[in-house]
């Protein structure tokens, strides 16, 4: 089985599994209690938080544990828009993840102005254009660091600068769920105010993520209850998962450079081999700045669902757009925003590589893709 769908999810790193093991039997305490059992859990949770904040160059109090990347995006958009009972406006792009876009249209239905900045045919934003959409009514600007479908990498640093020049007080959120897989993040360098991560994209467990929230940024909580995470996200912590997430991040950062090189090498070899064997294949945004882990390809004349089924039967796991509730692939809103027709979008597939991708996988997978595509041609 050749797994080329790391952008969907990545296997659990052994370091994460090991770090999570004690919580199966021994460390079962609720971190919010006062006795020794609770303290152990609390210490473990806070150690995880300390470690994570250090890796992001943030303060521990600025890390909010959530139930995943989607929840972090929801908290960022809705929390900023509704802060203090307000109806703050959102500025965002049409290629964001649905977790941002649907949160944005939800708050729009409550009266928050929504402003969508156009992207070019590669999906890129122009920093000055983003800034020009910011008004006194804007509460948050949300631009993803890297796109989960195409792999395109947005100019976040420049865009934050442009936006803050126009309105220093506006909150800038970036969905770094995919972006963080590709590069180390320093929130002081990026100067973002909010940043979303999801553990299972980098070898941590599913069901846990975080929202970095710069101190001073206020968010209306989505989940009310016992007041955990300084009131911003109530609920008994998933200590095991938070610890697993921290361990996965540590493992990633420990091999950051080699991870980048390895993953980029496999992705590039995949594209080179496929370009050679299937000359009609078109690689999306190949000339623009991309994250290292993703290859988005259009094979003209071939319906992606059918090729994906053939690849599945041939032992290659890949994907196309996102799946709806029934499991069918939807027509991608990302590709549509980039100017592709629905017919072209239906010919696109995404292949993504990760920490467990063996050397040579890119070449082998490309051969299989070319072979299966040819059988359909």
């Amino acid at each position: 089985m050749r797994y080329l769908d790391h952008a969907a999810s990545s296997p659990l790193r052994p370091e994460a599994w090991e770090a999570m093991a004690p919580f199966r039997s021994d460390d079962y305490g609720n971190p919010s209690g006062g006795h020794a059992v609770s303290r152990r859990a609390k210490n473990a949770l806070e150690n995880a938080r300390d470690s994570i904040s250090e890796m992001l160059n943030a303060d521990p109090l600025e890390i909010i544990f959530t139930g995943g990347g989607t929840e972090a995006d929801n908290l960022a958009v809705k929390g900023a828009a509704f802060d203090g009972g307000g109806r703050g406006g959102i500025v965002t792009t049409p290629i964001e993840h649905d977790a941002v876009l649907r949160s944005a249209s939800f708050v729009e239905s409550f009266g928050c102005p929504l402003n969508i900045v156009k992207v070019d045919t590669d999906g890129l934003v122009d920093p000055a254009e983003v800034a020009s959409h910011v008004t006194p009514a804007t509460a948050v600007v949300s631009i993803m660091m890297g796109n989960n479908e195409t792999g395109i990498r947005q100019p976040i640093e420049e865009t934050v600068r442009a936006v803050k020049d126009v309105r220093p007080s506006v909150t800038f959120h970036t969905d770094a769920v995919q972006g963080y897989v590709s590069e180390r993040i320093d929130v002081q360098r990026l100067k973002v105010d909010l940043l979303s991560l999801a553990a299972h994209k980098f070898g941590g467990p599913k069901g846990v993520g975080l929202l970095y929230a710069r101190s001073g940024i206020r968010l209306e909580p989505l989940i009310h209850g016992g007041g955990q995470e300084l009131g911003r996200r109530s609920g008994t912590h998933n200590v095991m998962a938070a610890v697993g997430m921290a361990a996965a991040m540590e493992a990633l950062e420990a091999e950051r450079e080699s991870f980048r090189m390895r993953v980029a090498a496999e992705r590039d070899a995949f594209e080179a081999t496929l370009a050679d064997l299937a000359p009609g294949a078109v690689f999306t945004a190949a000339g623009s700045s991309r994250m290292v882990q993703t290859s988005h390809v259009r094979i003209p004349g071939i319906r992606n669902e059918v090729l994906l089924a053939r690849l599945d039967l041939a032992g290659v796991a890949a994907s196309a757009a996102s799946a709806c509730q029934s499991g069918a692939a939807t027509v991608s809103h990302v590709l549509e925003a980039m100017g592709m027709t629905p017919a072209e979008a239906r010919e696109c597939l995404r292949f993504s590589f990760g920490w467990s991708t063996p050397a040579g996988e890119g070449v082998e997978a490309a051969r299989l893709v070319a072979r299966e595509a040819e059988a359909l041609g």
Binding site: E305, A309, L313, Q325, G327
Partner: protein, 357 residues
């Protein structure tokens, strides 16, 4: 040998998949997503809902077969829904299940099955395919109450060669029994009676939701006497008795719908009698067959004696006895005993003593 099973989540297609696997085939299951709500989401009522896809997925998991969900919403829209709306607007009564079979299931899906190196497409239809030398015959299913050969009457040799209907040899009771024995969770699932994209609602509400806003018009009797006013011809089908909004002391039935003048003509039961139908979009299972045949002009109706002629590309069906509720737009399937010889769409009908309409 590899088979692609179209799995709707219902008991028939579930058992079809199980029987194919039991017979030693390499089985792949697929659910076709045909319809989506305004936000792009799959429907949650009617047929082919998210819950149905989940049932299909569970059965596939139980049978340990690969399972996919494919998006056919645009083919379905253009092949089935658009025509459904157009037919009602032009005073016809469409049969969307037939159009789905024609344009989606037994064309696109079969093409995709071939692309996956499948030797057969399997469905849960109650009908039988028999091979007789080089010839493929399509016969009614063993269970007369469930026979679906009518909606399969557009199939030809090439398609029949690539299809298999395992439950056609069974009664519904036997199918449910097999499902229960195999531990398939849909054994007791109720059969869907609805049009999949209309759901439990009324087709008129569906048309309204699609922006169909037909003009009001007169309701007249055969002599042209004005009896009342209606709010759109799409609210009526031939043979309809209820909801006419007229009372003349005796039952009245819709006998004609004129889309051009928006006139609905009502008459007595006798006036409903149709003696002849001309078919368009004719397809023959093997080759044209004329003469004395049996004609079935409704999905749930029996076949009646008829004389069939083919002239200049059009097929004329003359019923031995006048038939009630023969509606333009419906499929008419021709049988020789229990074998389907062909099917077409009712284009025009004529009554013994009236001009064609």
């Amino acid at each position: 040998m590899r088979a692609l099973v179209a799995m709707s989540g219902g008991v028939d297609s579930s058992v079809a998949a199980a029987l194919a696997k039991e017979a030693g085939w390499e089985v792949l299951g697929v659910t076709m997503k045909l319809w989506k709500g305004p936000g792009g989401e799959a429907p949650t009522s009617g047929c082919c809902t998210v819950s149905d896809a989940e049932d299909a997925r569970r059965v596939a998991a139980h049978l340990d077969i690969p399972y996919y969900v494919w998006d056919y919403t645009s083919e379905f829209m253009s092949g089935v829904v658009d025509g459904f709306i157009d037919d009602y607007i032009s005073g016809k009564t469409p049969n969307p299940c037939v159009e789905c079979n024609r344009t989606v299931k037994f064309s696109r899906l079969m093409a995709h099955a071939e692309a996956l190196d499948c030797d057969r497409v399997v469905t849960g239809h109650y009908a039988r395919i028999e091979s007789d030398g080089d010839l493929f015959r399509l016969r009614r299913g063993v269970d007369p109450a469930k026979d679906q050969s009518y909606v399969l009457s557009m199939l030809g040799q090439k398609q029949l060669a690539g299809l298999w209907f395992p439950v056609g040899e069974l009664t519904k009771a036997e199918t449910r029994h097999i499902a229960a024995d195999l531990g398939i969770r849909t054994a007791d699932k109720a059969d869907s009676q609805d049009i999949c994209f209309v759901g439990t609602g009324d087709y008129r509400d569906f048309l309204a939701s699609q922006g169909v806003n037909p003009a009001p018009g007169p309701i007249v009797d055969k002599d042209g006497t004005l009896l009342g006013v209606h709010h759109g011809i799409t609210n009526f089908t031939i043979g309809q008795r209820r909801g006419l909004g007229v009372s003349v002391g005796e039952p009245r039935y819709v006998v004609r719908i004129d889309p051009i003048t928006s006139t609905v003509t009502v008459g007595s039961r006798e006036d409903l009698g149709v003696s002849q139908a001309v078919l368009s979009d004719m397809s023959w299972v093997h080759r044209p067959v004329t003469g004395s045949l049996a004609a079935q002009y409704r999905a749930h109706g029996s076949a009646v004696e008829a004389e069939v002629e083919q002239t200049a590309g059009a097929v004329q069906v003359r019923f031995a006895e006048p038939q009630l509720a023969v509606a333009r737009g419906q499929t008419l399937a021709l049988y020789r005993d229990d074998e389907v010889v062909g099917g077409g769409i009712i284009h025009t009908v004529s009554r013994a003593a009236a001009p064609p309409g």
